[in-house]
């Protein structure tokens, strides 16, 4: 077993470009899926069956299938719907947003439901309108309760971006695979990117712990 760690240094620019592509995908997917997740979570809580049931269907179907399936779905479906081939970044991004939003929707729903009903009643009886109660009383508490679960989910999403590998997007894992195959150095390359992912996710979880301590349960 002779290991050659200089392989990491020699391929530094390629690895860096892969890492930047990973970050790009992760950040855009986190932002957009959060918006879609809040909408889907709110729709699921809606009293109108026309809003409630489609949201339930969407959330439960997505949560019942593997992420790879959703990625393939958009990979095969998007060119047919759009009438032209989509680049793999766009296709992966859409898949991640649609997939993650279903999980985030459940977190949002649980967060809103965690606010005691008495809070709503008190807000209404002090003369606030429903939207005002939502904005000033329910959501601030709900978001506080959601933070730990949200950050955990964002960590999972960050790791899941490695799956964009499968449709050829050149993120960190894809780039690592290319280098490993060209140089026959699988051990060094995969160990290195595992550490890179770990440092990022562990940092995210430390931030989450600090946030949790500072805010505390509402």
């Amino acid at each position: 077993m002779d290991l050659d760690w200089t392989i990491i240094v020699r391929n530094w620019p390629v690895l860096l470009s892969g890492f930047i592509n990973t970050l790009k995908l992760a950040v855009l997917a986190i932002g957009a899926s959060f918006v879609l997740g809040v909408v889907a979570g709110a729709l699921r809580l809606s009293r109108s069956p026309y809003l409630h049931y489609p949201a339930v269907l969407y959330i439960e179907i997505i949560r019942g299938v593997p992420l790879i399936m959703v990625i393939f779905w958009f990979y095969f479906l998007a060119p047919i719907l759009a009438g032209r081939p989509l680049d793999n970044f766009t296709s992966a991004l859409i898949a991640f947003i649609v997939f993650e939003a279903a999980y985030l929707a459940e977190i949002v729903r649980a967060g809103i439901q965690s606010v005691p009903l008495g809070q709503v009643q008190a807000a209404i009886s002090t003369g606030l309108t429903h939207p005002q109660a939502m904005r000033h009383v329910i959501l601030p508490q709900a978001i506080r309760n959601m933070i730990p679960a949200l950050v955990t989910r964002f960590i999972v999403l960050f790791m899941d971006t490695s799956l964009a590998y499968i449709i050829g997007y050149r993120e960190l894992t894809r780039v690592a695979r290319i280098i490993a195959e060209r140089e026959f150095r699988a051990f060094e390359v995969y160990t290195f990117i595992a550490i890179v992912y770990f440092v990022c996710t562990y940092a995210m979880s430390l931030v989450a712990q600090r946030l949790e301590r500072r805010l505390g349960p509402a």
Partner: protein
């Protein structure tokens, strides 16, 4: 065809690829392999996870640190990277010679499935990754048991091993049934990643069908429905088990961590 026309799509559906010979047979093989891989990996995850849960709550400093490092590392790196590690990197660090040759050329037909290195790597990757998640869940379960129970058990003359054996493990496992159900569901979904190292589970077989027929959408639809069916079956089974094993007086449906 009709559906495509209705949606105004430029796509010619041919659903018969799902049951035509040999594609239908391939898909069935894939289902069987997904189930075998997931169940065996679950056994590994459960055994290792319980051991990790014990080590992380027991008063032995060094084993606790090792178990914590194991859990944090394998929980916080992507499963895909771990699979690549087992499949590509582990053979590289094996000493050149009979062991490495045996690993590279392993191909034994058993009544259940073809035993090859793709399978072993997928099993190791999925098992170890899930064991870290299960270990974390069980640790939380054991720690949620009030301290007084341990103290009462110890002062009634039980040894620490007996306390784990008769109090902490049985109660802890029952407390964590809901989050464990989530993990059990996840292992089936996560097994789809084995496609990347060439293990012939469902996702791999849909790719095969696609590359032979160019009917990827049909094949992916079939696989999606199969995964949904598996998920719904397990969810129904687990919710029965939750009710059966819930500890009276506790709120059984605790927070699940995804």
């Amino acid at each position: 065809m009709l559906l495509a026309g209705f949606l105004g799509l430029q796509y010619d559906f041919r659903w018969s690829v799902l049951w035509e010979s040999p594609f239908g047979y391939w898909l069935l093989q894939g289902v069987k392999n997904t189930i075998i891989l997931s169940l065996l990996a679950w056994v590994i995850a459960l055994v290792l996870g319980i051991a990790l849960g014990i080590l992380r709550t027991a008063p032995w400093r060094v084993p606790r640190a090792v178990a914590t490092a194991y859990v944090e590392f394998f929980r916080n790196t992507p499963l895909l990277v771990q699979l690549f590690f087992w499949y590509f990197a582990v053979p590289q660090i094996l000493p050149a010679g009979p062991i490495r040759d045996a690993v590279n050329s392993l191909n034994v037909d058993t009544p259940l499935l073809t035993l090859n290195y793709e399978f072993l790597a997928a099993l190791a990757g999925l098992g170890v990754y899930t064991s870290a998640r299960v270990g974390e869940t069980i640790r939380a379960g054991i720690q949620s048991i009030p301290r007084q129970q341990t103290e009462a058990a110890l002062s009634s003359g039980l040894s620490l091993v007996q306390v784990y054996r008769h109090v902490l493990i049985p109660v802890g496992l029952r407390i964590v049934i809901p989050p464990m159900a989530t993990e059990f569901l996840s292992i089936f979904k996560n097994s789809s990643l084995a496609v990347t190292i060439g293990f012939a589970e469902i996702t791999f077989q849909t790719q095969q069908v696609n590359s032979y027929t160019f009917k990827g959408l049909e094949a992916v639809t079939a696989a999606t429905l199969i995964y949904l069916a598996i998920s719904l079956t397990i969810a129904a089974f687990m919710s029965r088990m939750e009710r059966q094993y819930a500890i009276p007086g506790l709120i059984a449906r605790g927070a699940t961590r995804e």
